[in-house]
């Protein structure tokens, strides 16, 4: 079929202009970024990693550090039901978000790419939520979800579905779901813009050629457009996944991890342990973040393998 031919034509074999350059020049280009980064990011992180092997207390005004080896890690995996619940919530959040946000984002991008009027308006409007800070999001949606004067319940009552009005953030059954909706609302616009850009960068010749070939509407999308933006979708998915696994601010502002830990995430748990647990044992919090960091890395690599297509379309 012509579609196959099109695809074959698009796959590149070209080389980019990689240059061999003197070491001094490389250093020059890399120096400032590396400097800032090493001092302000790498060093604290490495220090944090070191902390995960320590038990920290403050005695009479000085900090006492005691080496405990792998004890924190042992506890995390075998004796910490809160961590298990938090990890479960974070993973659920990540998976649910990916399943919701990616298809919706892609769909919206496709719709926008085919729209003939008011494109700028819709694109701007749909991107707006991305601009809000998590603090704002948390506050705004707490108001929306409120049992008494919340927007959602008011709407439900107005259209006669008042029986569905419930305390969304106060029930273990609905709290997490409610927050997942919030992050979706927030971030779909970004995925959409990402995919939209990818779609627009598909040269129109391909599009026209496909149309001449008889592909229209759905088939056009499914067989031509989607595969061509596959890597963008992959990137977006991985980013959503990582972002949700780290989520903290929103939960902190909206529910603080309640009710009964239904919205506790690893992010909020780490902060609880680091600052609000009464012992100020940064060691345990450091161990938690180390564990989770490894988990996120593993997930990213796995997703990368699964989703990323090495074919490069150059046209």
């Amino acid at each position: 079929m012509a579609r196959e031919a099109l695809r074959k034509k698009a796959v590149s074999t070209g080389e980019k202009g990689i240059m061999k350059v003197r070491g001094g020049v490389i250093a020059l280009f890399l120096a400032p970024a590396t400097l800032f980064y090493t001092v302000l990011v790498i060093y604290p992180l490495v220090y944090n990693f070191y902390l995960s092997f320590l038990r920290i207390r403050a005695v009479e005004g000085t900090i006492v550090e005691q080496w405990v080896g792998l004890r924190h890690f042992e506890r995390i995996f075998f004796d910490d039901p809160v961590f298990i619940q938090a990890a479960g919530n974070s993973l659920t959040w990540a998976v649910a978000s990916a399943l919701i946000e990616i298809p919706v984002g892609v769909l919206l991008a496709i719709v926008l790419s085919r729209l003939k009027f008011l494109v700028r308006f819709f694109r701007t409007a749909w991107f707006m939520p991305v601009l809000l800070s998590y603090v704002l999001l948390g506050q705004l949606w707490s108001w929306i979800y409120r049992g008494d004067i919340g927007l959602l319940n008011a709407l439900l009552r107005a259209i006669g579905l008042g029986s569905l009005a419930q305390p969304w953030l106060g029930q273990t059954s609905t709290a997490l779901g409610a927050l997942i909706v919030v992050t979706a609302w927030h971030w779909v616009g970004f995925t959409m813009v990402l995919c939209l850009a990818a779609v627009s960068s598909i040269p129109s010749e391909l599009d026209d050629a496909a149309r001449i070939d008889g592909a229209t509407g759905w088939r056009l999308t499914w067989d031509i457009t989607l595969p061509l933006i596959r890597n963008t979708i992959a990137t977006a998915t991985i980013l959503v996944f990582i972002g949700r696994m780290k989520i903290f601010d929103l939960v902190w502002v909206a529910t603080r991890g309640g009710p009964l830990g239904a919205t506790e995430t690893v992010g909020t748990y780490i902060v609880q342990r680091a600052f609000f647990f009464g012992t100020l044992d940064q060691g345990y919090a450091a161990a938690l973040s180390t564990v989770w960091f490894v988990a996120i890395m593993v997930v990213s690599v796995v997703l990368n393998r699964m989703l990323w297509s090495p074919e490069r379309y150059e046209y």
């Binding site: 080389e15 980019k16 202009g17 240059m19 061999k20 350059v21 020049v25 490389i26 280009f29 400032p32 970024a33 800032f36 980064y37 302000l40 990011v41 790498i42 604290p44 992180l45 220090y47 902390l51 700028r120 819709f122 701007t124 409007a125 749909w126 991107f127 707006m128 800070s133 998590y134 603090v135 704002l136 506050q139 705004l140 949606w141 929306i144 004067i149 927007l151 008011a154 107005a158 609302w185 616009g189 813009v193 939209l196 850009a197 960068s201 890597n231 963008t232 992959a234 780290k246 903290f248 992010g267 780490i270 680091a274 600052f275 940064q282 450091a286 960091f293 890395m297 990213s300 379309y313």
Partner: protein
């Protein structure tokens, strides 16, 4: 009704497919727009009402626009100062990010050297770590450097933590630039430094715009580092101003709504103005994978 029709007695199914499809698309467009803009508009409306009215009816439009909530924001907090600080900190940080990240990204994309990949992924790895975790070590690092409670300190931290994502976007862009451009510049006698600044960087404008806008959004709203590293009220940034309205027992919804609207307005305005650039940047930039 034509009972011989395939659709029996359901006339609406006889509508041509294109009509149905248009209606569905229209519903999607309108519905989703309401979904995204609705809550935002609601907050703005709330900021013009008073609390008693809000409790009665969360939905209604105010009969009279109450500007008192906004006045109170200015009265209770040092808002103009916070705004200026945010501008200074974010803009300078952006300049730093753009310059340093472009340079490094270019090196990763176009120079071949050992450990290139390793170093790059070292930069990427920290995307996965939450910020609270590095608070104490960072605090300890900034102290001796004399950077605590200064704008410079905050700027430095912002630059450092924005590097990963900026590098990612810019490197992807530089990888897509045809090699011939560099070759041509070389033939003209330019060295790598000049090549970069005269030729490559200008070409990268869309990606730079992307990086700029993206980081602006994140840094403008950043709260944690600003809270912990800045102590003087005169140096505080905008998000911290919101703290004045989020008291333990205060139920000042209207006031909060006003504070929150004021805090977000710059970002929204910036986006609306620069949307086109941003879009073009995304298109030309990091998305080809």
């Amino acid at each position: 009704m034509n009972t011989n029709s395939v659709f029996g007695d359901r006339p609406w199914m006889q509508l041509p497919w294109w009509v149905v499809r248009t209606l569905l698309v229209a519903a999607l467009l309108i519905g989703y727009t309401l979904f995204t803009l609705g809550p935002l508009l609601w907050v703005v409306v709330l900021s013009f009402r008073n609390n008693t009215a809000i409790y009665q009816n969360p939905f209604a439009l105010p009969s009279v626009l109450q500007w008192s909530n906004y006045l109170e924001v200015f009265h209770r907090t040092n808002l103009p100062m916070y705004f200026v600080n945010s501008m200074i900190v974010v803009i300078i940080a952006l300049i730093g990010i753009v310059i340093f990240a472009s340079m490094a990204a270019y090196a990763f994309a176009r120079f071949s050297f050992r450990f290139s990949n390793t170093i790059f992924w070292a930069f990427m790895a920290t995307l996965m770590v939450p910020h609270q975790v590095v608070l104490v070590p960072l605090f300890k690092t900034l102290g001796p450097l004399g950077l605590l409670n200064t704008r410079q300190g905050l700027i430095a931290v912002y630059i450092a933590f924005s590097l990963p994502i900026s590098l990612y976007i810019l490197r992807a862009f530089f990888q897509q630039i045809p090699g011939e451009l560099a070759e041509a510049a070389k033939i003209d006698g330019a060295d790598d430094w000049k090549t970069f600044w005269r030729v490559m960087f200008p070409v990268a404008r869309p990606a730079v715009a992307t990086v700029g806008v993206f980081n602006f959004i994140l840094l403008w709203n950043e709260f944690l580092f600003a809270l912990v590293f800045i102590r003087d009220d005169m140096l505080r940034t905008l998000p911290l101003g919101q703290m004045h309205f989020m008291g333990e027992y205060a139920e000042d919804i209207a006031g909060m709504a006003a504070a929150v609207t004021l805090a977000t307005l710059p970002v929204i305005l910036l986006y609306v103005v620069l949307a086109e650039q941003f879009q073009r940047g995304m298109a030309a930039g990091a998305v080809k994978g």
